[in-house]
Amino acid sequence: MKLMAWLRSFASPLFRRSPIEGEMEEELRAHIQHRADDLERSGLPRKEAERQARIEFGGYQKFKEECREALGTRLSQTFVQDVRYGLRMLRKSPGFTSVAVLTLALGIGANTAIFSVVYGVLLRSLPYKDPARLVVLQETTPMVGTVSVSYPNFLDWRAQSHTFSQLSVVQDVAFNLAGVSQPESISGHAVSPNFLSMMGVRPFLGRDFDSSEEKPGTPPVVLLSYRLWQSHLGGDRNAIGRTITLDDRSFTIVGVLPPDYRSVEKLDVMLPIGVWLTNNSAAHERGSRGDLLVIGRMSPDAGWQQARAEIEGIAARLAQEYPLSNNQFGVSLKPLRDAFVGDMRPAILVLFGAVMFVLLIASANVANLFLVRSAARTREIAVRIALGASRGRVIRQILTESFVLACLGGILGIGLAVGGIEGISRLISMDMLSGATVDMNGAVLLFAAVVVVLSAFIFGLAPAMQLTKGDPQAELKDGGKTVSAGASQSRLRDALAIAEISLALILLAGAGLMIKSLYRLLSVDPGFQTEQVLTMRMDLRTAQYAKDIQVLNFWQQALERVRTLPGVEDVAVGTVVPLTDDHSRTDITIENMTLPEPGNFPHPDVHMVSPGYVNTLGITLLRGRTFTDADNENAPLAGMINGMLAKRYFGNEDPIGKRFMMGHPGKDNKWITIVGMVGDTKLYGLANPARLEIYLPLRQFPQSEMELLTKSANDPATLTSAIRNVIASIDKNQPITDIATMKQLVRDSVSIRQITLILLGLFSGLALLLAAIGIYGVLSYAVALRTHEIGIRLALGAQRADVLRMVVGQGIRLALVGVALGLAVALALTRLMNTLLFGVGANDPLTFVSVAIVLTIVALTACYIPARRAMRVDPIIALRYE
């Protein structure tokens, strides 16, 4: 209500005269009348007396202006006046207005839409207390990079650190939730009891964990996510104290997390680490590293460097003290924000830069339109200055006009942005956002408003300065017909067109590099078959799978029954599906190797697989054989290695028949004989190098958590429900998760680059179009101004081809200067997108040459219409016009 009243009071002067203005007018008029009365008394006729009085009064408008200033109403008052005037001018030239508004709307809309991503992902504060002081800590090893933290190491960090006021573990957990319509797998975190209070989060309902719940053996309790509480317990407040069955174990619900609780991955439950330790006693071994990371809160007086130095010092001491488990292990620290942002930051920043360029191009274009249009207004402006308007006043008025234009563009742009945000959030998958919301909100609107004001300045100021520079006297004498201010004005117009071309070239170069990267990336041989393979994950956790034989029976039955489904060509199970960042790695010892330091053992990725695995995924068998059903619990242990491991540890020797064992030499060494050697696979994404891999037969190394891989003759996705039925027929309570085709996984693995490419392509297309319009505008105006000159030239015998050469020559000059400038800047800027590129240098010559050619061709095309118009000039008409 209040807002409306405020708006009305602000807007009303736009549409009617203010009373102050009327009074002022009346007062000044009264003065003139009084003077006229006196003059009349001295004998002048009334008419003459009034004329005389007006002359004596002096510059009426100028004094009125000064009065307004004296009243202090000047700024707002004149602003209102200017806005009114601006609207009137814009209404008078609808063509100019609509082109300018549309151009600006595209620029502002693109900026606003991308900013909503920047804000949602990079800027919006995380829903924790003082989130800037929260740090993610992980261990590192030179062999693999970042790895999980060992629980005993965490305990030592916590005991010794002073720079962290609090530290907590975060262990990924997953459970099968049965007894619902379709069995499902839920995931969550096991955390130190202080976790929530450290994050500054209070449970929505119930209680936080208690410090006693850190020790193993504590009664199983669980906090539910708001979502799970709503979907499975109907949001019942009496659910606190009730129990929920996870993996056949009964957990007491002690609370519910707040609805806006945010975690990097989907979180359904949270339990105290003590509950998890009860069933994972191995975590107490220092060498055991599972899925655990540490989050800490830096104490208020500790700085980043200090914290890092301290934790690294602790880690170095631990590495000395426990060489077997900690040799060469360091610590990495990163802000919690980075864990949420993931690899999206460079892509977002590149895109944000790109839309800024689009906005600059749009502004340059509108500035050009402004210049061209206001060239016709030089006389009007000269008159105003002659009548006593100060230069600043006229500049302000032109700026207000551009501001009005920018506002119109902004309103339309925000409309476009709403659509754009919708489109972008459809492009970006939920996983990539890790809980960030990308939407139109106050901050985004504020940004749009700032962009509007800035762009109004960018495209308004240069023309305003230019237009008021001229000498009003000359302007008036010339009758406004000449192009006297032309030289410097056309220089400015040329500069704007050149700037547009350079900016467009930069964007095109970026898009070109992305296209090439994506093409290179998708043509990388992943080392396995990506067509027609369906993957799904199952984890056998309940009591009925306590024994290995039960697990093996389940997989055996699943494989046999799926194989008989129509359309299935091959089926297998394996522990890891490529490209998903899932992994299981371990140290191995090769027979007869000189034992390295504990941290330097070969550390390959391990796959436990069923016999059909290599065939189903289409991995190449380089030597020896793959597993068969004979590689079972009664046979000697067998293994396969990949080419990379063979090359690094066996050189040119044939690895078949050689032996290795899991882990470091110890009491019960179980040697595994190498029976086959297979090709390397791109487990960690197409852009990342292959690593060492070993394969072990499932029958000899039973695993309860596996990926079922089905190769079908047709579209593999159609098999989903048939396979679901097969699994339900074996165990109706067994959930199936992560259903995806291998093709989807490949697409997902390049999705950040793909989205960047799509958006960058879109923006550079827009830039190209705007730049073409820019060149077109400059040239057509130049031709219009020179019609007379061209007429004379033709009359004096110039050939039409000469005229064509003249116009096109001008266009080409602009284009070439723009291209050269753009190339220089692009060469420097594309370096910034290095992390997004693959298989192509940031200064790839072919890309740069191609975009330069494309841009030149587009520029030439833009010359075509103005050039044709110039050629068709009829000398008679052109001269008579004068």
């Binding site: 009264a30 003065h31 009084h34 003077r35 009365d37 009064f57 002096g58 004094f63 004296a70 009243l71």
Partner: protein
């Protein structure tokens, strides 16, 4: 025969305050009064009066109200406020000091140096 002098910048406000101190006036009246009390020696650009009047009103030195003039026209009349009166006194004093100082300085004889 009087030679009309351009008034010094900044003195217009003082003249207006003085003129109005002699009784409420409308704008044109202020002009006539200044002409009269300066014996026609000071020339004011007519329009320039109004921005000055508006400024003085805004500073709270003058107050204005609408009334009817001797010519039977509607006009805005100005009169001094209390702070306007105070200001006039201060400004007149400092003007007097300036004038006597300037006169003394310009009238100095060589032997006084």
């Amino acid at each position: 025969m009087t030679v009309a002098a351009q008034i010094l910048p900044g003195t217009l406000d003082l003249l207006i305050l003085k003129a109005v101190s002699l009784g409420p006036l409308h704008g044109y009246g202020v002009l006539l009064r200044i002409e009269q009390i300066s014996h026609g020696a000071l020339l004011i650009e007519q329009g320039a009066l109004y921005p000055a009047l508006f400024r003085l009103v805004r500073q709270g030195l003058l107050k204005a109200s609408w009334g009817t003039s001797e010519n039977n026209r509607r006009a805005k009349f100005y009169e001094l406020t209390a702070s306007g009166r105070k200001r006039l006194r201060e400004e007149a004093d400092s003007w007097g000091r300036l004038v006597s100082a300037m006169t003394a300085a310009l009238g100095a004889h060589p032997e006084e140096a």
